[in-house]
Symmetry: C2
Subunit: 332 residues, 2 copies
């Protein structure tokens, strides 16, 4: 039995591209005592993978060259000598870009219990993306009914969940996305009250028009010019969640932009970093809420599934170019 | 009886200078029904006055030309037809740069009850400065024992109180100030554990040396290069209070500086604007705590009192040049 892997072969600067990866096959090992063997069915493609592949200070150490690219993935246990897992269990975890993963359980996120829903949801709406959106809206943004919530990358896996969760809470939602197809998705699939196409509109003027009472909450996935425009329209007591910085590809040296200090002071706004790791002990709360909303038809999910390991090397670049039309996944 | 006023005669751009003001004398009016006449003894000089004098969007409307400069002040009621105030009461309020103020009570902050302490304390440690420091440390920074707290303009009226309150809570305190005399004050008068002279030291290297475990709390009065340096040394979960932006004189167009987004994301730090107006219903709590610490000898106060209305036109510039050596006041 062969293990198909996509390894990080060269260290990228900025967004990893096809030339930074190589495909290889290695033998699959038998699980030792306390281990299990997982047949991985789907790999996740997430913005954070840019940071993992780069050799810069970050919240995780960089991926070692010559090893499978770090990645969340979902799969089925096909052999187990681990007391907590049985053959047939579906698990989600940091299994990497490989078709077969040996695990002692330490890199497993959770056993997937929502067997009535597609397994891939464990990587998206019930995984990193959905839970990040959930805690971002509930905790970092402290969104409440009546708030105007602006979201960048609003058609993306996190952004679309942020908008829908905020809507469920009774907020007015404004999505910023690139191009007519994504703004259509925002309005028709994800229920945003307004959508702004940053590729064809003056974002600042469009935010002002869509948010006549100012922006109470801003879920920021982009940094850069889009965020700079939103920041000029904060309402008193606004909350800003910094979840990602997609539009900035290099942070060393620090990029330059408009200072936010006076905007925060005048509106007494709060700007805070958001990373799902900090909510590790509350993931069940988020998954239960999210699964309930999915089952009730209140939360729409859109997936974009690439076919085969050979699609992986170009996938992160595709994500950063915004070419995907839903949560980006690779079917192994 | 004559009322000596210092009026805003010309609209400044940036820091108001002597040429923007004029002294004049007008007749004192008798208080009407529901009014009182206050003999003002001391005017306050505060960084916020730059914003009040400028014609830019702000949290208060600009001072009208030809009227006394807006200012906090303290004085004694010398005639009253107001049911809540009697002759002899000492009051603190937005009385402006004038020797006699008619008031219907709406611009009065509070009646000064701490008659055992100098009256001027109502403008400093028990006024805007001290209460801002109190809520900044307690609420915005959520400082707790063991935290490393860095303060800019650490020898100033707000900064020196921030450092001392944090110290009372059991924090390790690091003050940043300009010049050897102010750093000496930080260490010897205000009890900072370390002091950094931004005029002669590499602030980033000095913060790294003084904060080996990173900066848990940063009370920012400056913006600009000092803050940029501190922001590169945040600890996980850091809190940053944006109280002032002294080093930036113009905000239109927005000044440019290093983007803080990734620093906030990687450390999950929180950056928030702080303005005392938001704590109007809790001022008694702060004044009681502060007065208690002053009486117990735990809170040192340093005042710099200029003599006479003719010193007022240059006072705001003096403050921004950092030439004062304590809370800046004008004895009328």
């Amino acid at each position: 039995m062969k293990n198909s892997q996509v390894i990080l072969a060269q260290r990228p600067v900025g967004v990893p591209k096809p030339q930074h990866f190589e495909l290889r096959e290695v033998d699959v090992s038998e699980p030792g005592e306390g281990q299990m063997l997982i047949r991985v069915s789907h790999w996740s493609v997430d913005p954070a993978m840019r940071g993992w592949a780069n050799d810069v200070p970050n919240y995780s150490p960089p991926v070692e060259l010559g090893t499978p690219m770090r990645s969340l993935a979902v799969g089925e246990v096909i052999a187990s000598r681990h007391s907590d897992y049985s053959e047939g269990d579906v698990v989600e975890g940091m299994l990497g870009w490989q078709s077969h993963a040996l695990s002692d359980g330490s890199n497993i996120g959770h056993k997937v219990m929502e067997t009535d829903l597609p397994r891939t949801y464990a990587l998206g709406i019930l995984g990193l993306n959905g839970t990040t959106a959930y805690f971002g809206v509930m905790d970092t943004l402290s969104a409440k009914a009546g708030d105007t919530v602006v979201v960048s990358t609003a058609a993306g896996a996190v952004g679309s969940a942020v908008g829908q969760i905020a809507k469920i809470l009774g907020c007015r939602t404004v999505g910023i996305a690139g191009g007519p197809e994504k703004t259509r998705q925002c309005l028709e699939e994800f229920g945003f009250d307004a959508a702004i196409d940053y590729k064809s509109e003056d974002v600042s003027a469009a935010v002002a028009a869509a948010c006549p009472d100012g922006v109470d909450c801003y879920f920021d996935n982009t940094c850069g010019p889009i965020s700079d425009a939103v920041m000029t329209h904060l309402a008193h007591g606004a909350r800003i969640a910094i979840c990602g910085t997609a539009s900035i590809t290099k942070w060393d040296p620090l990029p330059i932009g408009p200072r936010v200090h006076r905007q925060l002071l005048v509106t007494r706004a709060r700007m805070q970093g958001l990373l799902i790791f900090d909510f590790a002990d509350r993931l069940d709360e988020a998954r239960n809420a999210l699964a309930g909303w999915v089952r009730a038809g209140k939360l729409s999910v859109r997936e974009h599934i690439l076919q085969g390991p050979e699609t992986a090397p170009g996938a992160i670049e595709m994500l950063y170019k915004g070419e995907n039309t839903g949560k980006l996944l690779i079917a192994v």
